[in-house]
């Protein structure tokens, strides 16, 4: 219960800087701090991967040329391992094929060193917004999931039929229950799912891809 609480607590948005040049890291952190944004730096992709946690919020500011694993390779790895942080690339020598490749792979922005403050801050703001949206989506999905999980097996059955558009009478017939019992289950579902209307309930189920009833099993 305690861990649940901790992950729920919103983390401060941070720019995770990965660059092998310590003075660049220092400069970036200083600049971000001066405008009130938190920054953390790592000398390598491995070092960042070690400290990353699912609740990390913010974005990645990645040097395209890194020792060990290159920034581009790292970006691919991030996607494979499900690290959803938006990525901003930076490099001192931007070659077009590389830019095209990383942008295609879903990078937010590509900054050529040395870059303007506005360029950086704009990219960071954008990345933060994307990340926020990502996180709120993730949060909403997980809360709906939690609500669905709190339903009883019977309630879940009833919900599937309701979202499929069946009337109480039909549900009662399908489940061999009285209409009153079905109504009770239905009210329970609406309460636990915190849905004001059937339309809202349908939307929620679609969001988490909860399957609706597709017909009699017989």
């Amino acid at each position: 219960m305690i861990t649940q609480l901790e992950t729920d607590k919103p983390k401060r948005e941070t720019v995770f800087i990965v660059d092998d040049d310590p003075s660049i890291c220092e400069g970036l952190i200083n600049l971000l701090e001066s405008v009130g944004i938190a920054g953390r730096s790592y000398p390598s992709a491995e070092a960042f991967a070690k400290e990353w946690e699912p609740a990390s919020a913010g974005c990645l500011l990645l040097d395209a040329r890194l020792p060990g694993i290159s920034g581009v390779e790292f970006q691919e790895k991030l996607q494979e391992s499900g690290i959803g942080l938006p990525v901003i690339f930076m490099t001192a020598h931007g070659d077009m094929p590389m830019v095209r490749k990383v942008m295609k792979a879903g990078a937010m922005e590509f900054l050529i060193k040395p870059f303007q403050k506005e360029e950086l801050l704009h990219a960071v703001e954008q990345a933060f917004a994307v990340d926020r949206a990502r996180r709120s989506e993730e949060k909403a999905v997980s809360s709906i999931r939690a609500r669905i999980d709190s339903l009883t097996a019977r309630e879940r059955e009833v919900m599937a039929m309701v979202t499929a558009g069946l009337l109480n009478k039909q549900i009662a017939a399908e489940l061999n229950l009285s209409e009153i019992t079905v109504k009770l289950h239905r009210r329970g579902v609406m309460e636990r799912m915190q849905a004001g209307s059937v339309a809202e309930l349908v939307k929620m189920c679609e969001r988490v891809k909860e399957p609706s009833w597709t017909g009699s099993k017989e």
Binding site: D20, E26, G27, L31, S34, V35, S44, P67, H93, K113
Partner: protein, 524 residues
């Protein structure tokens, strides 16, 4: 005819193995044949004398002289003597009174004596004459024989000479090269067909000055000079020149001429050959062009690499400066201004700017190579000075630096700053490699002779050595194993060493650790 008779006689002689055969031949030659000849002649004389007896009043015995002469002539001395004998008897018997008796009257004795003396004299003279004649004829025959033999021999050798000449000519025509022969003064006497075909001119139009007209005007003076020198000195002549062909263009030929000497040791004639080297020449030209192109390309490439590395090296501190500067402005514009942060940030700006300027001076030092600074320097002295500069850094890193220097090294024409740059890079690499190594951290710099013309400088560390598989990549631009490395250090070192006609390579020491070695050529 004579020769065949001689031959058959010789063969006959050769087959004479038997004594009896030889005797019978002897008998034939010296008895029977002369006797027969004498008898025939004398009988003919006798017959004619009888016939003429009635015409001429006085017994006419002179015909016997004729018979004796004939016998001596045809039968030799023996036949002559036999004829004398027979004639004397017959004359005494038939014509000297008393007739038909061998006895001779006193008054006729002088006549018979005169007859016999005359007959003997005739025999002697006639046979001598005959012998002389025979000797002359024999001599003439022999001469003729000899002449005939000589003639045959001459004819035979003439044919042989003609044949060998024909073959030689065929050979010179068959050789797919252009061949000529010139007299001692250099006038062309003969050209093979290949040459005349190529030039489109007969031999007569290649003599004297006309020969030089076939040459390209650029090659002519050198050719003329070389040819004149060869003729004067009597030595070989060889030159590459363009020769104008009948088809209207020039081709490159290797013209080679060797003299043939007379028994007196003077040049008798010159033999020349023109070998077509147009293709070779063209291939060579292509190769030179390709090489130039390649070197230009590699130069451009290395310039591009260099530019990229400089851009990167400069961009890093500049990026830091720019970001710090932005931050500084923010700290100052904050309400209230954060002066502590702002001041710390300006300090950073100064640091990073200094770093950028260091990059610039490094680049400038690198580009000084274009000026090719070369001064005679003592490499050992250079290393000692450099180690003094490195002392603080070494103490800070707890590294001890050992020197193993060969004091007998010659001075070398080098750029001392660049060589120190190489040493600095290698030493820093070595110390970096030992950063996490347990003691003892030793860096050893060695100098020694390497072959006749090179000095070998080694920088050894006691670090973990060069990881397998990257030994040949560490000299590539942008290849670095260090977080803060640009990957240019060793690439630059290598280019510096190569500019000093040396080589730079790396290997792992058997005692552990890496060894970087480079050679520098000593003065030639």
């Amino acid at each position: 005819m004579n020769s065949t008779r001689c031959n058959s006689k010789a063969i006959y002689d050769a087959s004479m193995t038997d004594g009896t055969d030889r005797f019978s031949q002897w008998m034939m030659e010296y008895c029977l044949q002369p006797c027969a000849i004498a008898v025939v002649f004398v009988l003919v004389a006798l017959l004619w004398t009888f016939l003429l007896q009635h015409v001429i009043a006085y017994p006419f015995v002179f015909l016997f002289f004729g018979a004796i002469m004939g016998s001596a002539w045809f039968g030799g001395m023996i036949a002559g003597s036999v004829a004398v004998f027979l004639s004397s008897i017959l004359v005494a018997f038939f014509f000297i009174p008393p007739l038909f008796s061998m006895s001779v009257t006193k008054e006729s004795q002088s006549f018979l004596t005169a007859f016999i003396l005359c007959a003997i004299a005739i025999t002697v003279v006639s046979s001598a004459r005959k012998r002389a004649e025979n000797a002359i004829r024999e001599a003439r025959d022999q001469l003729e024989e000899k002449v005939r033999e000589r003639t045959a021999e001459l004819q035979k050798s003439n044919v042989e000479i003609q044949e060998s000449e024909r073959q030689l000519r065929l050979l010179t025509e068959a050789i797919p090269q252009q061949i000529w022969r010139a007299d001692a003064a250099g006038t062309i006497e003969y050209c093979n067909r290949h040459l005349t075909d190529y030039l489109g001119k007969p031999v007569e139009l290649l003599q004297g000055e006309a020969f030089f007209a076939i040459l390209h005007s650029e090659d002519e003076p050198l050719f003329r000079q070389g040819w004149r020198e060869a003729i004067e000195s009597g030595g070989k002549f060889e030159i590459e020149a363009r020769i104008h062909g009948a088809h209207g263009s020039y081709r490159w030929f290797l013209v080679r001429s060797i003299p043939q000497y007379s028994a007196e040791g003077d040049v008798a004639r010159w033999y020349g050959i023109h070998i077509d080297i147009e293709e070779q020449r063209r291939a060579q030209q292509d190769l030179i062009v390709a090489q130039e192109h390649l070197s230009q390309l590699s130069h451009t490439l290395s310039m591009a690499e260099m530019a990229a590395s400089i851009a990167h090296e400069l961009n890093q501190p500049l990026t830091a400066v720019v970001t710090h500067a932005y931050a500084c402005r923010e700290w100052l514009q904050a309400q209230p201004a954060n002066l502590v942060k702002a001041s710390a940030t300006t300090e950073k700006i100064v640091q990073e700017s200094t770093r950028a300027s260091a990059v610039v001076s490094r680049v400038r030092a690198l580009f000084r190579k274009e000026a090719q600074v070369r001064e005679p320097a003592d490499i050992n002295l250079l290393i000692r000075e450099f180690v003094r500069l490195l002392r603080d850094e070494a103490i800070r890193r707890e590294v001890s630096i050992g020197l193993v220097l060969d004091d007998g090294l010659p001075r070398m024409e080098i750029d001392p700053i660049q060589i120190q740059q190489v040493l600095f890079n290698l030493a820093m690499n070595g110390m970096d490699a030992m950063a996490h190594a347990s003691a003892p951290r030793e860096l050893t710099i060695r100098t020694e002779r390497h072959g006749e013309r090179e000095v070998l400088v080694s920088v050894e560390d006691r670090g973990p050595g060069i990881p397998e598989g990257i030994a040949d990549r560490i000299f590539e631009p942008f290849f670095s194993t260090k977080p803060e490395g640009t990957g240019m250090g060793l690439a630059i070192c290598r280019s510096i060493v190569e500019m000093h006609d040396g080589r730079l390579w790396a290997c792992n020491s058997p005692e552990g650790g890496a060894v970087f070695q480079f050679t520098i050529r000593t003065q030639v």
